[in-house]
């Protein structure tokens, strides 16, 4: 059984069919790419899979459990985490706090412990800041743990977003244009990070990307979208050489 199964997923805004009849099957531990020209509806797909938008048609399942139409909070708890195309960090909080917010749903101490600093508070805060530190070390962010997130350089902000998403201990990670705005060196480093995340956390990853070098470098399979419909899908090199895809990107 595939980890993520998407069937006939579609959404319309007013009269506009932003995404139509999308089908996806992503296996466990796979690195899957979702590509397409600007405005093809890639981020809309992410927004449906994370509960930001409610799909008008179709359904999707995570490990056989249907999550269509659930709220963002529930979907995150069920194991889908994401990053954003335009980075969305908690800018006025430190790097470590950003990750701790991601860990929040696993922490158990209640309001009384917060107000009165009962023993549970100290124990959990200690345990979880250690876990946050471990996660930060993986992304080479440990030395910046006390810096404000908004003061991080761009590449590190991207990494922190991935770390925060991983803190919610997801099964499926959605990365929305992780290489956007990066130079070739940073992109190469990011590719390594993504591969590393997949191995270390045994993660299934679905990513949106414009940088074809990155897609060719790490994605096993891709689906190409244009104007909300699927142009091609399958093994990366085959799908990218599909005449319809070449036409969509380069014109006739």
């Amino acid at each position: 059984m595939s980890m993520l199964k998407v069937e006939n997923l579609g959404i319309t805004f007013g009269g506009l069919h932003a995404v139509e009849n999308l089908n996806l099957e992503i296996e466990k531990n796979e690195l899957y790419g979702l590509i397409g020209p600007n405005g093809a509806g890639k981020t809309t797909v992410f927004n449906m899979l994370t509960g930001v938008y409610k799909p008008t048609t179709g359904k999707f399942w995570l490990d056989g459990e249907e999550l269509t139409g659930r709220s963002s909070i529930e979907i995150n708890r069920k194991g889908i985490a994401r990053t954003f195309q335009n980075i969305r960090l908690f800018g006025n909080m430190t790097v470590a706090e950003n990750v701790l917010v991601g860990l929040n749903n696993q922490m158990r101490y209640g309001l009384a412990s917060s107000f009165l600093r009962l023993p549970g508070f100290f124990k959990e805060e200690r345990d979880y800041s250690k876990r946050a530190d471990e996660l930060l070390a993986v992304f080479d962010l440990y030395d910046e743990r006390d810096t404000l997130a908004s003061n991080l350089p761009y590449g590190k902000q991207r990494k922190l977003e991935i770390a925060r998403a991983l803190a919610t201990s997801p099964r499926l990670l959605l990365l929305d244009e992780p290489a956007a705005g990066m130079n070739p060196n940073e992109t190469a480093e990011l590719m390594n990070t993504i591969r590393f995340v997949r191995e270390k956390f045994d993660m299934t990853i679905l990513l949106i990307e414009h940088d074809m070098r990155l897609v060719m470098g790490i994605c096993e399979r891709v689906t190409v979208l244009n104007f909300g419909t699927e142009l091609a899908s399958g093994e990366t090199s085959k799908a990218l050489n599909d005449p319809a895809v070449v036409k969509a990107y380069l014109g006739d």
């Binding site: 800018g91 925060r164 998403a165």
Partner: protein, 332 residues
């Protein structure tokens, strides 16, 4: 043994506690010795409850990032319910005060809970207008509830005979509120609040329940505003609906903004200055309010200047350096 002592001396709990007791000691002594004039004594108590009120608003405006212009409503609900409890019960004064605080805080919290459920979908200007209207609404309702004195106000609220005791009681409430807010904002719950302020969409993407958190913050904030109301009632001995008009909400907002939203220390200092300012300018007669306004503007401008920020960072560094001196020695 010695290193343990050092650790204790360097801890926030110790430094904060020692500072709180020292400030209380000096002020109480000055009151008891009659060095402070009567008006100065009452100002000290006013500072206590205004700071409490401003801190409660800071939770909503500074930490949660929602603009509320109706905090006078929670303040009023707390004052009226708590003081009515004190007026209509037959208990020793200390119990009337403590019971009044509980009743006032809880009633305000209930109102805060209900109103926050109603305004969950509102944001920004819309939220501000609705809370503003809500503030006026509560004030009108209070006028028609029997037993609360109508427009003439609730009279005969018991009060502490000695100013030292009155100040001490108000001061204790303030210190407890500061500790509670500090603890809350430095816990996992507090982190979710600032996360929502910084980026609501991202907060939701990591599974934070925005609605529940907002309701929680409004409820806590209303509880604290209610406490401030009770303290004010015990100081004034009579409260009228006119004491809770929107000017109170605005004044609390000025304190929060001036204190640099989301900062406990800043709010405390700004509130104290704003309460003291009209009094310090008393000699200027009719120019008093004019100068008050000019000073406010000047304070905002100075606060935002690079020089002042650099000075603040230097001060922060010094304080941290002082704290870590103890810990570093311990490590050696």
């Amino acid at each position: 043994m010695k290193s343990n002592l050092r650790k204790i001396f360097a801890s926030r709990v110790f430094i904060g506690g020692a500072a709180a007791i020292a400030i209380w000691g000096v002020l109480a002594l000055l009151i008891a010795a009659g060095i402070f004039s009567r008006s100065m004594q009452s100002l000290l108590i006013q500072i206590c409850y205004y700071v409490t009120l401003a801190l409660s608003l800071d939770l909503v405006v500074g930490y949660l990032g929602d603009l509320s212009l109706g905090h006078a409503a929670f303040y009023a609900v707390g004052a009226y319910s708590g003081c009515a409890f004190a007026v209509y019960t037959n208990l020793p004064l200390a119990l009337k005060f403590i019971g009044g605080l509980l009743v006032g805080g809880i009633c305000a919290a209930i109102v805060g809970f209900l109103i926050s459920c109603a305004i969950l979908k509102l944001r920004g200007d819309y939220l501000a207008i609705v809370t503003l209207a809500f503030g006026e609404f509560v004030r009108s309702i209070v006028k028609i509830i029997p037993g609360l004195g109508g427009t003439k106000g609730l009279l005969g609220i018991p009060s502490f005979d000695s100013r030292v005791v009155g100040f001490t009681a108000s001061y204790i409430v303030l210190v407890l509120v500061i500790v509670a807010i500090y603890n809350f904002t430095h816990s996992r719950h507090g982190r979710t609040v600032t996360a929502i302020r910084d980026n609501a969409i991202a907060a939701e993407s990591v599974g934070i329940n925005i609605k529940r958190t907002k309701v929680l913050v409004f409820t806590i904030s209303a509880f604290i505003a209610g406490l401030a109301g009770v303290v004010s009632g015990f100081y004034k001995t009579s409260i009228t609906p006119g004491d809770f008009d929107y000017n109170v909400s605005i004044e609390a907002l000025v304190m929060v903004v001036l204190g640099g939203m989301g900062s406990i220390r800043g709010t405390v200092i700004a509130s104290a200055i704003i309460v003291l300012l009209p009094e310090l300018l008393r000699g200027m007669d009719e120019y008093r309010m004019l100068i008050y306004a000019i000073v406010l503007i000047a304070m905002m401008m100075i606060k935002a200047s690079p020089k002042c920020r650099a000075l603040k960072e230097k001060l922060d560094g010094k304080i941290n350096g002082f704290r870590s001196r103890f810990t570093r020695k311990r490590a050696k």
